[in-house]
């Protein structure tokens, strides 16, 4: 898990596999350096393959930006758990966190690149979702 301070939209990567999440985060860093707040989470609470709400909440906190946070997820449970985590956020934060409907690795890199240019949350989400649409 990593972070950075900037006013840009934060990126959270959620995969069933911590290795995939961390690897995707490495690819994002390679592209945008520390211009974008970034965090990753993966694995269930016992460390097996899966996702967990507490880990996602912690990642959102780490990547928090006043401009909001875009979450990239891999499969079903990652998405459901991420949506659950968003609902559990304080009300003033909830509207500034979105789950993107995009492939996790490619989406994270594209979203972070968009964010690094100072784009707002909606544009970051759109760029990730449109690339493979």
């Amino acid at each position: 898990m990593s972070s950075s301070s900037s006013g840009n939209v934060g990126i959270v990567i959620v995969s069933h596999s911590p290795k995939i999440a961390e690897g995707a985060a490495d690819m994002v860093r390679q592209m945008v350096g520390s211009a974008v707040p970034l965090a990753w989470t993966g694995g269930d609470v016992d460390g097996g393959l899966g996702t967990n709400v507490a880990g996602i909440l912690a990642a959102i906190e780490t990547a928090w930006s006043p401009a909001g946070v875009a979450i990239l997820v891999d499969l079903g449970g990652a998405e459901t758990n991420s949506e659950m985590a968003v609902e559990m956020l304080a009300e003033d934060r909830r509207a500034r966190v979105v789950v993107c409907n995009a492939p996790v690795v490619e989406g994270a890199v594209i979203a972070a690149t968009e964010s690094s240019g100072g784009s707002p949350l909606a544009a970051v989400k759109r760029s990730a979702e449109e690339f493979y649409a």
């Binding site: 609470v45 967990n52 709400v53 079903g76 449970g77 659950m84």
Partner: protein, 204 residues
């Protein structure tokens, strides 16, 4: 329906036992058409619920259901954590402390609708909704505890020929046909445990 502390603890233990004792079966159902973690995930969640006893049973029934739901959300993982957890949390939110059967009918309907929203799913897609929805209909139609328990078992069986539209099993397309949906099986186990524990209250 008003459950005293002893009945609430009995309910929690029965729910947890129903899942934990069938963890291997749930896992093997999930290995057939999913990622094979359903038994372990549900077991972990309900072990965490058991660990919250005895304090958990000191709470009112609605509060207890909410805590069970939140515990499942945080511990189960997979898509089942938020789905089953949402059901318990919303049931707790919707049930008054002293509830009638009509209250239970209304609260289960609300909780099921919340599960539909959470999973963006409806009955007929080979998910736990294929047990929750028909069982709730029996409850709403005045069925007794035996009828509710029987419907839970039959509804899970009816998922066997279904084609999965949601969840990991949907990746298998036609190959999802011929296997029972693991989430339907765990929902069925939980419902049966609940109605058997509360038979006298359900039928009164």
């Amino acid at each position: 329906m008003s459950l005293d502390r002893e009945a609430r603890e009995r309910l929690v233990r029965a729910l947890a036992r129903s899942v934990i004792e069938h963890a291997d079966e749930l896992t093997s159902l999930d290995q057939a058409i999913g990622d094979g973690d359903h038994g372990l995930n549900m077991k972990r969640g309900f072990e965490a619920v058991l660990a919250a006893l005895p304090d958990l049973a000191d709470k009112s029934l609605p509060e207890m259901l909410k805590v069970i739901g939140m515990t499942l959300v945080m511990k189960v993982g997979g898509a089942s954590g938020p789905l089953v957890g949402t059901f318990f949390m919303e049931l707790g939110k919707a049930l008054p402390e002293q509830s009638t059967r009509a209250d239970l009918v209304a609260a289960t309907e609300k909780a099921i609708n919340a599960v539909k929203v959470r999973g963006r799913s409806e009955a007929g897609q080979k998910t736990l909704l294929d047990v929750l929805v028909p069982v709730q209909a029996v409850l709403a139609g005045g069925g007794d505890a035996k009828a509710i328990a029987a419907e839970a078992v039959q509804a899970a069986d009816r998922t066997i020929p279904m084609l999965a539209i949601r969840g990991r099993a949907s990746f298998l397309g036609e190959r999802s046909v011929g296997h029972m949906d693991p989430g339907s099986r765990s929902a069925s186990l939980l419902i049966r445990a609940a109605v058997e524990t509360l038979e006298s209250e359900v039928d009164s």
